[in-house]
Each structure stands twice: as C-alpha cells, then as structure tokens.
Symmetry: C2
Subunit: 582 residues, 2 copies
C-alpha cells in the first residue's frame, strides 16, 4: 500500500500496527502464538470472575476479552500489554452502575455497556487532544493507596461467594456488616470448596514455582505454569460439582452461559443516563489508563521499547468502544496477564489478537463445560489475584518520607474503604493537588550567607557562613505566584522591621522559576515599602525566562537596587561597600 | 475589668475593640465623629442605590448600614474600613437570589437575608479555623478582571432606570438585548433627570476637586467634599420631582420607605434553600473578603498599621450575621467609602459605630423625605461609582507580562460578561490554579555550564559558559512532584539517549524546593536506567529540607554518584577527572 507521505505519517502515528505489522515474520508469529495460548488459558477464568465481580453475567467477561483485544492490537503501542476486564475497573463499574439499576436487571447491563462506551469516548478524546499528561496529576502514593484499598474491598466482597451467603455494599464497612448479618447461613460445602480453592491457588502462587524450578525447569516456563493454576482449580471443582451433584446441596454454580459469538450491542444515548454516569466514566477511564500505562511502561522499559501515552489513550479508547458494541464492559490493560504475556514471549500486539481468537473459541465451544463451575472457585481466583495488589507498606514508606504524601494516601485509603471507590479516588486527587498548592502557598525561605572559601551561599541556620549585618540575603525556595505573593510580602516586611542596621536586602532568586503578575505587584510593593525606610532591594541569580518577563514590566526601572548575575557578586559589592564605610 | 491572663489574651485577640478602646480619648473621639458625619452623608444615597441594584427594597440598604457597622467596630482590625452594602456584592446577591425567587417577592427578601447569614457563618468559620490564606488563591489579575466585568454589568443594568424602561438579565448580553427591545418605551423626562444627574456626578468627581483646590481649600477637605456630591444630586432631584409632580409624568420614584428602627429578621434554616445558596454564599463571601482586605491593607499601610486577615474574617462574618438579624443583606468593606473615612480622619473603628448611629437617625427621621427621590438619580450614583472600578488596562498589562495571566483574566472577564458573575469568578479561580499546575507539570529545564572566572553556572544557550562533553549538568527549575515526575524522567532519559560520550549526569537542584514520593520514585528509576548505561547520576545544591527528606529514604544509598554541596564542586571533580583521564 503506497500512501502519500503526510497521510502515511499520520496513519503510522495513529495506527502503530502499520509500523510493527510491516516487520512481522515467522519468528514473531511463533512467539506471539505461544504467548496467546497461555494468556487465553489464564484469561478464561479471570474474565468470568471479573464479570461476576462487576455484577454482570459471566459471558460479558468473555465478550470483553475478544473485540477489545483486537482494537488494542490495532491502535495500542505496547508490545506486551494484555487488555481485558480487570479487578479494580470491574469494582468501579459495579459501584457506578449499582447506583442506577439493580444487579441482574436489563438496565444494569445496559448501563455497564454505556459506561464502556462513555469511557472509550473520553479516552479517545483525551488521546486526540494529547491530554495524557492529565493522568500525571494522580500522585503515585494516592494510586497505590487507592489500589490497595480497592483490593481489600474486592477480596471482602468475594467472601460471600466463599461462604455461600448473600451480602451487599460498596464499602468495606457495609460489606462486613452485611456478611456478619448473614454469616449463620453459611453453606458448609460451598465453604469447603472455596477454602480448598483458596489454599490451592495460594500454594500454586507461592509454592509451585520453587517446586518446578527444583525439577530443573526454565524459570520463565515455571513462572508461566504457576500462573495458569486457576485453570486446574476450575477444572477440578467443576468435575467434582458435576460428579457429586453439589449444586443440589446449595453450592452456587455459574449455570447456563450462552454459547456463540459476542452479540452486537448498542450503548444508550439517553442524556439522563449519561449525566448520571459521566463522573464515573471519567474516574474509571483515568484509573484504568493510569494502571495500564504504568504496566506498559514497566514492560517496555525491560526491552528498551517506548510506549506513547497519548496513543495508549487512543488504544484503550478504541478497546472500550469495541467492548460497548460487542456485549462487553469497561476494560483496560491488566497487570498480571500482561506480565504473563511478556514472560511467555509476546513480541507484538498481535499476541493480543490471537488471544482474542482463543477466547472467541472458548465462547463458541467451551461454555457448556462451565455450567457446573462453582462461583466460590471464581471468587477464590479473584481473592488470590487482588491480594497481590494490596501493599500496606505504602503507609509506612510515605510516613517516613513525607507527612503530606502520607496524609493523601491515608485519606484515600480510609475514604475508599469507608465510602467506596469513587469518593475515595476523587478526594485523593483533590487532596494531592490541594496539599501541593498549600505547600507552595507558604514557601520555605532561608536567610543565606557565604560558605567560607567558596562563592556558594547557604542557609545561615544549617551551615557556618559569613554574613554582614547591614546586608540581608534571603533565598526564596518557591516560584512566586498569586497564592504566595501576600505571604512573601508579609514575611519580608516583618523580617526587615525586626532589625535596624539593614541597608540592603537581596532576594536570591535561584529557586524562583516564575514570577506571575500578582507576585510582581507584591515585589513592587515590597520595593516601595523598603524604599520608604531607605533600604534598597536587590535581586540575584534571576533565571533567564523570569528575567525576560521582568524586563517587559516597569519593575526593573523602579527597583531601588540592582540585579546581580550571582549572589556572590551581590555580596562582594554590598558587603564590601559597608565594610569600607564602617 | 480584670480578667485572668489567658482569658484576657484570647479576648484581646478576638475583640480588637479591647485594645484600641482602652486608649480611646477626646482627640480620637473628635476625629472619629467628623469622619462619621461625612461617611453618613455619603452612605445614605449609596445604601439606597445598592439595595436597588440587589433588587431589594431601599430600606434594606439602610438597615445593612447600621448593625453590621457596629459588629465590625467590635470585631474588625482595620482602623479605617467602612463596611456596608457594596456594588459587586449587591450584584452577586441579585444573581444568587434571582435564581430562587422573583424580585419583589417575600421569598426574594428572605433569600437575601439567608444569604447574608450563610456568608457570615462561612466567613466566621474561615476566621476561627484561620483559613484566611485561602483567599490568596484568587490571583490579582483574576480579581481585577472580575471587578471590571462586574462594573460593566452593573453600569449596564442601571441604564434601564436612566431610560425609565424595563430590562432584565444577569449577563451583559442579556441586559443589552433586553434594553434594546424596550428602548422605544424610553421616558424622556426620566432620561433628562438621569442624564443630568450623571453629568453632574461626573463633574463633581472630576471637576469639583480642582475647583475647590483653586479656592485654596485643604486637599483633604476638597477630596471629601467632592465625594458627597451625590447628596446634592439626591436633594435637588427630589425637590424638582416633588415641585413639578414628575412622578405623574412617568418618572419612577423611590416611594414609601418605612420609617423606624431596623426590624428583627431571622434567616431561613430550610436545608433546600441552604443547598441552593451554598455556592453563592461561598463566592460572595470570598469576593467580599478579598475586596475588603485589600482596601484595609492599603489604608493600614499608609499609617504603618497592621490588619489581621483571619480576624478580618471574623469581623466581616459578624457584620453579615448582624445584617441577617436586622433586615439587611450581604455587606463588606467598600473601597470608596473607606477612602473617604480615612481622608476624613477616622482614627478607630468607632467611626464606623458613629456612622451606624447616623444611618439609624436617617432611618428614623429622613425616610419620608426620600419619597420623591427619582430612581434614575440612584442609578446615576451607581453608574458613576462602578465606572471607577472598570480598569481595562489589566488586559494590556497582563498581555505584555504573561500570557498565562492574560488567559485567566480574559476568560474571567468574558465569562463574567457573558454568563454572569458566579460562573465568571468560579472559572477564573479554577483557571488560575489549573494553569499554574499545568506550568509546574512541564517545568523549564536548562543545561548549564560554568561562567568563566566565577563559580557560577548558567544556561548554555543564554550565556558563554564552559562545559565538558562527558559531563551533562541539568538545572531543573521546578519542585519535583507527582505532576512532573513522569515528564522529568522522560526528559532526562531522552536527553541522555541522544549523546554518546556522557559519563556523568549532575542534576543541579538549586530550584528544587520539594521532592515528593512520586518524584523520588522517578529519580530512583532515572538512577537505575542511567546505571544500566554506565552513566553515574549526581545531585548538587540540594537544599536543606529536601536533603533531610532524601536521607530518610534509600535513594542516597542507591545513587550511583555523589551529592555535591555546590555545582562548582561537582564540575571541578567530574570535569577535571575526565580531563586527566583523556
């Protein structure tokens, strides 16, 4: 295909498949096929389980693992990312859709499909307008806290399936209360199945790999084999349930899963529904994107590949739109399955497309075999998967490093656990930004002196430095802008009011990256007020971009003192002068 | 009165009257009384006019100028601030209350009273929790743009009274359209009165003072006299209307104004109403507070006095609560009347209390005289007053200084003019903060070299400096935090990937005021990735507080290079080493 150069350039940018597809060969095909088989085996129980977590029929999990993977293979930039239903996004879907309709109703399913469409559209727009940087406003600790709290909620929400009882709630507390109320109705056989599955899956995760390694197996293969443990649990428990007819003794089973191609579904365009889902769509998309990009970046770094975040938005947007039209629900790149895909040797996004074919075959052929699968086993696979997301060490790490980060993490976790995912993550983001703004509104300011034998200036309270009583050198450790302009003005005027002999004030601007209009007005006021006291105001080490801007104002003409290139020049001239005069 | 020391200290903090009251004497009394008489004369027509602007009965303007002034005299810290109804807050009241009830209805009045109570409560809480710094998040240019746009809207809204027609709308466009529709119903006599009043008031403002000065009058007295011009306009036009019975020829007059003490009113506690007014109460309070504090600060600075912003919140909060219980509506410190108060020699807040007595006497005795006062004259006093608020130069000043400030101002002005005050100011604040965050998320980064003959390092693109090919020195001009952590990582890794001979990277941290947990993780990743390429990472000029925190993490142990006190030390060691090795 020969396209005119600009068209071809645009096409290559928005269709990464044109790039890697042109270099596709037999070797990459083999690698991708092997990876696809392994990921398919892993993804079948996961898809069913996460659909269950989202409160949706199990087949929707399978459908969400077919076309979305193909869409990502065309538009995505990561070579190893495996897209599909994931735990946190499934939980967020349940929270969002649960506000609108009851689980099991047609409205619930329609809302989940619409949520996928809205998320997809939102991600696509962010990508086309290159707004991927917005995701940077989620601080790492806030994300870590949110994921940990979500993992705890998810694990708790699955306990009802392990116990064979009913329980409801979006927060940890409401879930625990609900579990406590119905605890006496526990079905012992369900509990036995669930507990064995849990024990088996934990053993597979922790104990199987060392065992396989001890037999001399390649580490990569051992890692992959230990990831497909859930399939064994699924197969064994299904056989046992079928053999002993355990469903007649109160064990909840998956039951009829429709056999066939994914249906063509259409998202609702009802403006009321859109209004109700808008905020959820934004949150789900952003959390999904952040998770996915961080996985993709980690894996790309290992092979010195690059991913393009704005194109990733387009890839994930296309995936979610594909999900909406093929009976799925919101999807994103998953951590565990992407690692398996990578370890199993996936070379290109084609592995994802082959996985889609595998899941399609499962939907066509295997669903009757899932009839007797106990829900408790699916719940066990979820619990084992999400507990690996739980990392409470983020609390101690942030506590020792920065109380402000700690406050943001703790608030995010507590609110997520206590009030649900949407409030938790919204407050977390708001708090991160609010605390950052608060810090910048009360900047650190140091009085500095000359480190003897150098031309370097440091804080007089931390270092042994030379100073001169008539010269006050102040280093401001923050950009000057509207939120701290008034603070700066008070601080300098109060400082000067304390001491009499001061004749010169030098503001050392090495850390001032910006002086906005409000701060400029504050500086003008400081200059004027100091002038009334016959104190001259000087600046030193003003950076290029800041100086450019000051030169466009009247400030430099009004300034009673000078602008020095280096603080040392200011010290030499001003302190020296005084010494001579004295 | 002898109080135990801690009680007395707390009482003095929250009751500034105890401080200045104890030093009150005959001289200050005389000064305050003179100022109070002049401010009273000025305030009578203003109170009536601003009540009209707020869509409220004129007597509510008088009531809002009695008890609130006494409350401020007890709790406020400014010696010269004159509190009462002001133009912008009246406009915001009309916008807020107009959403809830029709002008002239009981519901409208009740909502205005409730808005005053909610504003008062909000201000009081901000003050008690010492959150006055929140007002700093309004950038000066955004406030200037908002005030200018509000002034234009207010002036336009008063044209209907000058023309004697009906017109409605919260935005400039809707007002102009409405005026255009009814323009043919203009009442010529009303227009004559309005236009003469406008011409007279403009002349009083611009021409009277020079004239008085030419007669040898003291400048202070001339300034004060030229401020009470509106009273003459009020008296003359009232006499003319009464003499020629102009009200029978279609001139709208103020009519019956109840004579007597302010009534006891109670704010509504209806949660629905509170929900509808909450956002408006917050906006009105903050705008009112910011205006008031800036006036108070300007006047205090002239006499080397200090105001305490958190106590100002308490003072204004008490004023608004007093307004709510005495038939008033939201009040704040006004610019023009405070300047008059100051120029007329007010020494303490007692001048405000005396003004309150003056207005009380007016409410008791003078209201029958206001019956024939034409509304067109009140409208003219408003127009002349608010046009002094309009300052379009903020657009050109911000344009030449900073495009980001310009964008915030222009958006605030356009939205205020086009969509009303509440949307305008909300978007202005959001935009200021959003643009600041955006800037900090893509920080300026400079490659630096040694300025010959010094120990000072500057941008290689702006200065003639010495560099060494194996040593890359990068100065990051921003605090490192979650919003720019990913950007920094990409930037450094891409920069290093371009050039081969680099063996050492020094991050010069003189402008890094903070490294949060997300940025720490990014630095760890940079260190690891550079390590894989056998490039060492060093830091220089790390500030005290930042270093303290890094020492609590593992980063310094993992760092492949060193931390240098000064960039010069790094250069001497690393560049020198290479030179020897070469």
């Amino acid at each position: 295909m020969h396209l005119p150069a600009p068209v071809s350039k645009i096409a290559k940018r928005y269709l990464p498949i044109l790039d890697w597809g042109s270099r596709y060969n037999r070797d990459t095909l083999t690698s991708d096929l092997v990876a696809a088989v392994i990921v398919t085996i892993m993804l079948i129980p996961q898809s069913l389980a996460y659909a269950l977590l989202a409160g949706l029929p199990p087949e929707m999990g399978l459908y969400a693992s077919i076309l979305p993977l193909v869409a990502y293979a065309i538009f995505g930039t990561s070579r190893a990312l495996a897209v599909g239903p994931v735990a946190v996004v499934s939980l967020m879907t349940a929270a969002a859709v649960g506000n609108i309709a009851d689980q099991g109703s047609i409205g619930y399913i329609a809302a989940a499909i619409t949520l996928a469409f809205m998320s997809g559209l939102f991600l696509l727009l962010l990508g086309l307008f290159r707004l991927g940087f917005l995701a940077n406003f989620l601080s790492h600790p806030v994300i870590a806290g949110f994921i940990t709290a979500s993992g705890l909620i998810i694990a708790t929400s699955q306990l009802k399936h392990i116990l064979g009882i009913k329980a409801e709630g979006n927060s940890l507390i409401s879930l625990l209360l609900s579990l406590g109320q119905n605890f006496d109705q526990t079905n012992v056989i369900t509990l036995l199945i669930g507990a064995s599955a849990l024990a088996f899956l934990f053993w597979v995760r922790k104990g199987l790999k060392p065992l396989l390694l001890a037999t001399g197996m390649r580490p990569g293969l051992a890692a992959v084999l230990s990831r497909v443990g859930p399939v064994a649990a699924v197969a064994l428990s299904t056989l046992a349930t079928w053999g002993w007819a355990l469903q007649e003794r109160g064990v909840a089973i998956v039951g009829q899963v429709p056999q066939g191609l994914p249906p063509l579904t259409l998202p609702s365009l009802d403006p009321d529904l859109w209004g109700q889902l808008a905020m959820s769509a934004v949150l789900t998309s952003i959390i999904g994107f952040v998770e996915s990009v961080s996985v993709a970046q980690t894996l790309a770094a290992k092979k010195r590949q690059r991913i393009v975040p704005d194109q990733e938005l387009i890839g994930l947007g296309a995936s979610n739109i594909a999900a909406a039209f093929s009976g799925g629900y919101p999807v994103t790149g998953g951590f565990a399955r992407s690692v398996v895909n990578f370890d199993a040797g996936a070379e290109t996004p084609a592995a994802g497309a082959f996985t889609a074919v595998g899941i399609l075959l499962a939907a066509l052929l295997l669903t009757p075999l899932l009839f007797f699968l106990p829900k408790a086993v699916l719940a066990a696979t979820i619990i084992v998967a999400v507990l690996s997301l739980v990392d409470l060490s983020i609390l101690s790490r942030t506590w020792s490093y920065s109380r402000i980060d700690f406050a943001a993490v703790a608030a995010t976790m507590l609110l997520t656990l206590g009030m649900g995912v949407e409030i938790g993550v919204s407050v977390g983001v708001g708090l991160s930004i609010g605390l950052f703004l608060y810090k910048t509104s009360r900047p650190h300011v140091a009085e500095v002196g000359l480190v003897p034998g150098t031309q370097h200036f440091r804080n007089i309270h931390r270092h042994k430095v030379l100073t001169q009583p008539s010269l006050l050198s102040i280093r401001i450790d923050e950009s000057l802008y509207f939120a701290n302009a008034a603070y700066l003005q008070d601080l300098i005027l109060n400082r000067v009011a304390c001491e009499q002999p001061i004749r010169d004030v030098v503001l050392m601007c090495s850390a001032v990256n910006e002086i906005d209009m409000s701060a400029l007005e504050a500086l003008e006021e400081i200059n004027r007020r100091l002038g009334e006291e016959n104190i001259r105001l000087h600046l030193s080490e003003v950076k290029g971009p800041v100086m450019d801007r000051l030169q466009r104002s009247h400030f430099l003409q009004e300034l009673t003192g000078e602008v020095f290139l280096a603080q040392y020049d200011a010290y030499r001239k001003l302190a020296g002068q005084q010494v001579t005069a004295a």
